[in-house]
């Protein structure tokens, strides 16, 4: 590139123009309908997953196996026309296995980078707590920075890039629980939960979700997702709403029930998801409801309850969620 | 502390004429009893009152903050920002002149309009003529609105200080003795550097970047490379200001500043030794800032101070007056 070209003023933004609230709503309802076909009776979870996508964040699905974590990830990937990779985390997985490695190419007499499974738009990191902290931190670093460093060179990951990590709270043996600082990097923690009885019955009789998954067609492009993300960042937030977010975060730090309150990143995340969800609902502005209803999935995994160790199981999670829910009820809503 | 209600009032040229004419018309009116002259007098007096009210309205609720540049150098223009904010909810402020009052620096900026609940910044250029401490005392907000008859001003305390670095002059070329020790100096030990110190077997778990691939390919096993610790060139600029006065001191300070800047630009670790003060070796912008600040504030005299104590490890650059 000549210096003249470098100085050329025209810079094409990779993001494209942000979607309007109506466009966003249209795309999102198509997505919800599409995913809903594969993952029945879980509209709320689907919406939150999409919100996480729109906010450009990563998702931690914490639940027992067999409730549809993988289905959710796959349905999302198929509906979105995005590249999808699944990494099954095991204890012997090395960082290079997910990032990719430089391989010496005899023919060309040079090193060639072989990208790992991380180089996909949508990555399902299954059972993330089964691998070693070293590989975990490699993944989390990639999540935070949007790039991986291999052989001293930074290699950017594709955009959009979203990790759906799952972990099973019921197994303790042979697992490496994620510390709070790492959990902080996940925008949301969701638990899919068992399907409603009638849906389960339907599943039993209807032959499972695999068939549905096979027939899903993409309804949104990568470009749409990028535009959705751009639009989410533009959603209006009144100063009082920001104060409300700060008040909630401050409440988690002040209560004696919590030994470690939510970090500033938690506040940022809460507002980002609130923006995204407002957009998903076709609004160009954030309401207090957006913030309040998202507190549990955004904040519960970011706090450490007093008197308990980190990364506990199901009970731990429920306790944290209850604490957050109670706290939020006591923070005055702006009017 | 200057109270918020304090105002200074002065006449403009038009104001003097206007007031003179008003008094004249007042005398004529009372002398003759001509009511139409009283009417004209009433208009003139009422305009003065309206002018007083409006100018007060213009000044009220206006707050000004000064924004000093992080670095100012003698002889080079510095931009000093005056950030004005109109704290009133509805009423705008008109034709505000914001200026320095008291202190060592004179400057002013002008705002035609400052809308309600908004802020605007004006900046003035200030070319410091000397190094050292420049004090700011008050900021005065003045307005002649709406008629330009009177200038009402409101002084606000805004004390600040700006350290002006010595004038930038070209550094004198170095003499032989110091040149001899120029350059990066390798130390004979393993550390972080560029030069190869030695090769050894790669130990598992070590950073892959330490693998010397060529040797590994040759040897058929992983060979790691250790690199040599490097140390930067270390220079001590020495200035004994005690015998220097006036211009000679200024020249010496400027020269010392030039040396410090050049050595830092060259990547050296520079320390600064003055009579009564010593700045330990360091590099980078922070060091430049510290050294120039020390030089900027260097005063004459100081006979009671001890001689400069140069850094034992560095090469010494002695500045003479």
């Amino acid at each position: 590139m000549t210096p003249d070209e470098g100085a050329a003023p025209a810079r094409i933004t990779p993001l494209g123009s942000p979607l309007t609230a109506q466009e966003a709503r249209r795309i999102v309802s198509a997505l919800e309908a599409n995913i809903g076909r594969a993952l029945k009776g879980k509209q709320e979870i689907v919406e939150l997953a999409l919100a996480s996508l729109a906010a450009g964040g990563h998702l931690l699905l914490e639940d027992v196996p067999g409730v549809g974590k993988t289905t959710l990830a796959q349905a999302l990937a198929r509906s979105l026309d995005l590249s999808f990779a699944r990494i099954q985390f095991t204890s012997d997985l090395l960082p290079g296995d997910i990032t990719g490695v430089s391989v010496y190419d005899q023919a060309r007499n040079s090193f060639v980078f072989k990208p790992g499974p991380l180089f996909a738009n949508l990555v399902l990191a299954d059972e993330i707590n089964r691998t070693t902290p070293r590989t975990q931190s490699c993944l989390l670093e990639a999540m935070a920075e949007g790039q991986v460093s291999v052989d001293g060179a930074g290699r950017p990951l594709p955009a959009p890039f979203m990790v759906l990590a799952t972990q099973n709270p019921h197994e303790h043996a042979g697992t490496y629980p994620l510390p709070e600082s790492q959990l902080d990097r996940f925008l949301l923690r969701l638990s899919v939960g068992y399907p409603p009885a009638e849906v389960e019955r339907e599943l039993l009789l209807g032959g499972g979700t695999q068939l549905e998954l096979m027939h899903l067609h993409p309804v949104a492009s990568a470009q749409d997702v990028r535009r959705l993300q751009a639009a989410a960042a533009l959603v209006t937030v009144a100063p009082e709403i920001a104060d409300y977010v700060l008040a909630i975060v401050a409440a988690t730090r002040q209560t004696p029930l919590v030994s470690l309150g939510a970090s500033p990143r938690g506040a940022i995340a809460l507002l980002a998801v609130a923006r995204a969800r407002a957009l998903l609902r076709g609004r160009g502005y954030v309401e207090p409801d957006d913030v309040k209803e998202l507190c549990v999935p955004v904040l519960a995994h970011r706090i450490a309850l007093a008197g308990r160790g980190p990364g506990g199981g199901e009970l731990e999670r429920l306790a944290a969620e209850r604490v957050v829910r109670d706290l939020v009820e006591q923070v005055p809503v702006p009017e | 502390m200057t109270p918020a209600w304090k105002r200074r009032l002065s006449f403009t040229r038009m104001g003097r004429w206007y007031t003179g004419l008003t008094i004249g018309i007042g005398l004529a009116a009372t002398n003759t009893g001509n009511n139409l002259l009283f009417l004209v007098l009433g208009l003139l007096l009422a305009s003065i009152i309206v002018s007083g009210i409006l100018s007060e309205q213009s000044l009220r609720g206006v707050r000004v903050e000064r924004r000093l540049p992080s670095v100012a150098t003698a002889g080079q223009p510095a931009l000093i920002g005056l950030q004005a904010r109109n704290g009133k909810r509805r009423a705008p402020s008109f034709s505000l002149e914001i200026r320095e009052r008291g202190g060592d620096v004179a400057g002013h900026g002008f705002l035609v309009l400052l809308p309600a609940a908004q802020s605007a910044e004006v900046a003035y250029r200030f070319v410091p003529q000397r190094r050292g401490l420049h004090r700011f005392e008050q900021i005065e907000v003045a307005t002649r609105a709406p008629f330009g008859l009177f200038e009402k001003s409101r002084p606000m305390d805004a004390p600040a200080e700006l350290v002006v670095f010595p004038r930038e002059v070209p550094a004198r070329p170095l003499v032989g003795r110091t040149l001899a020790r120029d350059g990066e100096r390798p130390e004979d030990r393993i550390g972080l550097g560029l030069e190869v110190h030695s090769l050894r077997d790669h130990r598992p778990g070590e950073d892959a970047r330490s693998i010397h691939w060529r040797s590994s390919a040759r040897a058929g096993r992983l060979i790691a490379v250790d690199r040599e610790q490097e140390r930067r060139k270390r220079v001590c600029v020495v200035l004994d200001q005690r015998p220097l006065r006036g211009e000679a001191l200024e020249r010496a300070v400027e020269h010392a500043a030039a040396l410090v800047s050049r050595e830092l630009d060259g990547g050296a670790e520079v320390s600064l030794a003055l009579a009564g003060a010593f700045l330990p070796a360091g590099s980078g912008e922070a060091q430049r800032y510290a050294a120039l600040r020390l030089l900027a504030l260097l005063g004459a005299g100081g006979d009671g101070l001890g001689a400069p104590e140069p850094d034992a490890e560095g090469s010494v650059l002695q500045v003479r007056g």
Partner: protein
């Protein structure tokens, strides 16, 4: 981009300066004293400077200097020679200086000098004229002067603050001097004018009556000392006001049109085709003649305060109906002695001296008890010698006139004869405003040919007929009528000119007869123009009364009135006098509300300060939304719905479906900056109320 229309800041500023100078000049010019040449010079100079002024900036300074010095010398000589007075000379010189500045406007100093010169012109105008037109020029000057001062300040502040290069864009912008800015400045000017009025009212006066130059009203022709009956054309309606009269006591019922003869002068010598006033000079009057002894009747006195607007070159004094008892030239309320003296002529008409100094106001006191024909009956026909002139019958009098007179009045008592002639004329002949034209005998023509004519013909015919019967009579001119104005006085217009008859009776003097049909007396000024003239006159009168003649006495009166008003109010508040308990209660309640409101406002302010972090600018829609939500919550709470601090609007909407619309509107406006028209506020509140009522009904 669309270029906004309108003037640039620079253009507006220059035009404001020019306008100010023009209004200053106008204030001078309305006095009419500057002469046509100097009056025409200014508009020409303004036009010239607008067209070619730029080319002359700073050029030919020496030429201007010579011109101005020359003008100064000429004016000095004129003043010295007594041709013009010094104020006029100063005004003229100021005008020239002003023109000079208009042609040389570059620097701030030029602009400011121009404004100061305009101010000087205004002052000169104040000294030169007292007309209400000055008032209008003054108002216009106040507005344009405010524009000019503020814009000049703005322009040069910008130039100073930004430098010539930086300010050019702003000065040439058409977005600065917008109608909004000019309107705001005009509002400012009105504050200035209000302040001027206040200062005018309260500035202590030290003199009684102001020294001012008398106005020079346009002379009104008309009541001359001769009348020619054989003229062409029609009697014109002239709506110009010539007398302003106030009657004391006021006429009963304050009618719109006064039925009053305003007597001016006697025309008793017949010229063959008209009348002229009797010969003889004027003699000073110290006391008016005693009225002859009356019969029965309660003496009733009428005082007419007459302000002469039109200028009468002969200085005639108008008297109302009745016997004039006295004329007082002192202005009401002033103790200054009258500067005029009263004269009378041979016929007893009253005149004042000196005549030429305009601005005449006097009051005439008259005994209104007029003898009617019945009361003067039987006084015989022994006439004193000095009425002989009123018995002179022209030799050329048409025999038919004499015959008609004989038929109507022969053998009757003079009073009955006069009444008979008056009645016959008023009923048998027609009134017309058309003049007879050039006829040999206008009286015969009137009585027997045209059988129609105007008031002068009626009165002339009656006089001649009575004289032919040997009854002394004379023709009298004056005005009839008076139209009430909204300023409280009656205006007598030039078109109200009238002519009637006075008949002499021994021991009773002259008694008024008016043969013109009552409905046709005076003028008929009704049209738009006449109304405008009246309006203007009342404006002028008020300007005179309240502005020009405001002095120590009026000030003292005004202050006393204000003091009384305050005192009255205080007493009413204290409830001592007339202030009923109800009034007191109302005032106490109002005071209580006021105090409560201010305490609430203060507390809110304090609270606002306390939550400084939340003290943010909300739009009107956002404020309305917050208020709507507060009302909605109150409604919900009163319906028994629990709302915790942490409860959001959305949660409530899910719990109470009736509130959904309200919550949606509130949230969109409050958080999304959407519009929230009051209509929506009302609709959502209505929806919530009815929803709550319905659910309450279900609960029962």
């Amino acid at each position: 981009m669309k270029t906004p229309r309108g003037l640039t800041l620079l253009q507006t500023q220059r035009w404001a300066g020019t306008l100010t100078a023009a209004f200053g000049f106008l204030a001078c010019a309305v006095s009419g004293e500057m002469g046509p040449a100097m009056t025409a010079l200014f508009p020409l100079a303004v036009a010239g400077s607008a067209v070619a002024g730029r080319r002359f900036h700073g050029r030919m300074q020496w030429g201007w200097t010579v011109l101005l010095v020359g003008a100064l010398l000429v004016l000095g000589v004129q003043v010295f020679a007594g041709q013009i007075d010094i104020i006029l000379a100063a005004a003229l010189f100021a005008e020239l200086l002003c023109i000079h500045r208009l042609w040389h406007r570059r620097t701030e100093r030029d602009e400011l000098l121009l404004l100061l010169l305009a101010l000087l012109l205004l002052c000169a105008g104040a000294a030169l004229s007292a007309e209400v037109t000055f008032g209008f020029a003054f108002l216009a000057f106040a507005v344009s002067g405010t524009w000019a001062l503020a814009l000049t300040h703005l322009r040069f502040a910008i130039e100073e603050g930004r430098g010539p290069a930086g300010s050019a864009a702003l000065l040439n912008s058409r977005r600065v001097a917008t109608p909004a800015l000019l309107g705001g400045l005009a509002a400012l000017a009105f504050f200035g004018i209000a302040g001027a009025a206040l200062i005018f009212l309260t500035f202590p006066r030290v003199t009684i009556g102001g020294l001012r130059r008398a106005s020079r009203p346009a002379p009104i022709a008309g009541l001359g000392d001769r009348v020619d009956l054989s003229r062409h054309g029609t009697v014109a309606d002239d709506p110009r006001v010539i007398l302003r009269v106030r009657l004391d006591p006021a006429p009963r019922g304050e009618p719109r049109d006064l039925a009053m003869h305003w007597r001016a002068r006697t025309l008793s010598q017949w010229t063959g085709h008209g009348w002229q006033s009797p010969d003889g000079g004027l003699i000073p009057v110290l006391r008016l003649p005693q009225r002859p002894p009356r019969g029965r009747g309660v003496p009733s006195v009428l005082s007419a305060d007459i302000e002469v607007v039109g200028q009468f070159t002969d200085g005639v004094v108008f008297t109302p109906e009745g016997w004039p008892l006295g004329v007082d030239f002192r202005q009401p309320g002033t103790p200054r002695p009258a500067a005029r003296r009263l004269y009378r002529n041979a016929a007893g008409d009253l005149f004042y001296q000196p005549v030429d100094s305009g601005d005449v106001r006097y009051s005439v006191v008259a005994d209104t008890d007029e003898p009617d024909p019945a009361r003067v009956r039987g006084r015989g026909q022994r006439y004193p010698s000095w009425v002989e002139a009123d018995l002179a019958v022209p030799a050329s009098l048409d025999a038919r006139v004499r015959a008609l007179a004989e038929r109507l009045g022969a053998g009757k008592d003079p009073a009955d004869a006069a009444a008979a002639v008056e009645r016959w004329l008023a009923t048998a002949l027609r009134y017309t405003r058309d003049l007879p034209g050039d006829v040999a005998d206008p009286i015969a023509d009137f009585l027997f040919v045209r059988r129609a004519g105007h008031c002068e013909l009626f009165s002339s015919a009656m006089v001649l007929m009575l004289r032919s019967l040997g009854i002394p009579a004379r023709n009298v001119t004056g005005y009839f009528g008076g139209r009430r104005t909204d300023a409280g006085y009656y205006a007598v217009r030039a078109g109200d000119a009238h002519s009637w008859v006075e008949v002499y009776f021994p021991d009773a003097g002259y008694v008024r007869f008016d043969p013109t049909p009552a409905s046709e007396r005076g003028g008929r000024q009704e049209g738009f123009q006449a109304r405008m003239v009246l309006l203007w006159d009342s404006l002028q009168q008020r300007w005179r009364a309240f502005v020009v003649d405001y002095d120590l006495v009026s000030q003292a009166q005004a202050m006393r009135r204000i003091g009384q008003l305050l005192h009255e109010t205080g007493r009413r508040l204290a409830g001592k006098d007339g202030g009923t308990g109800r009034l007191r209660r109302v005032i106490a309640a109002a005071g209580g509300v006021l105090v409560t409101a201010s305490v609430i406002a203060w507390l809110r302010r304090l609270r606002g300060r306390a939550r400084k972090g939340q003290e943010r600018e909300l739009t009107a829609d956002q404020r309305r939304a917050a208020a709507l939500w507060r009302v909605g919550r109150r409604l919900l709470r009163s319906a028994g719905i629990e709302i915790a601090v942490g409860t959001t609007a959305g949660e409530l909407a899910r719990r109470v479906p009736a509130a959904a619309g309200l919550v949606r509107a509130y949230a969109a406006a409050r958080w999304g900056g959407r519009r929230l028209p009051p209509r929506v506020v009302r609709a959502t509140l209505r929806e919530l109320r009815s929803g709550l009522r319905a659910s309450a009904g279900r609960d029962i």
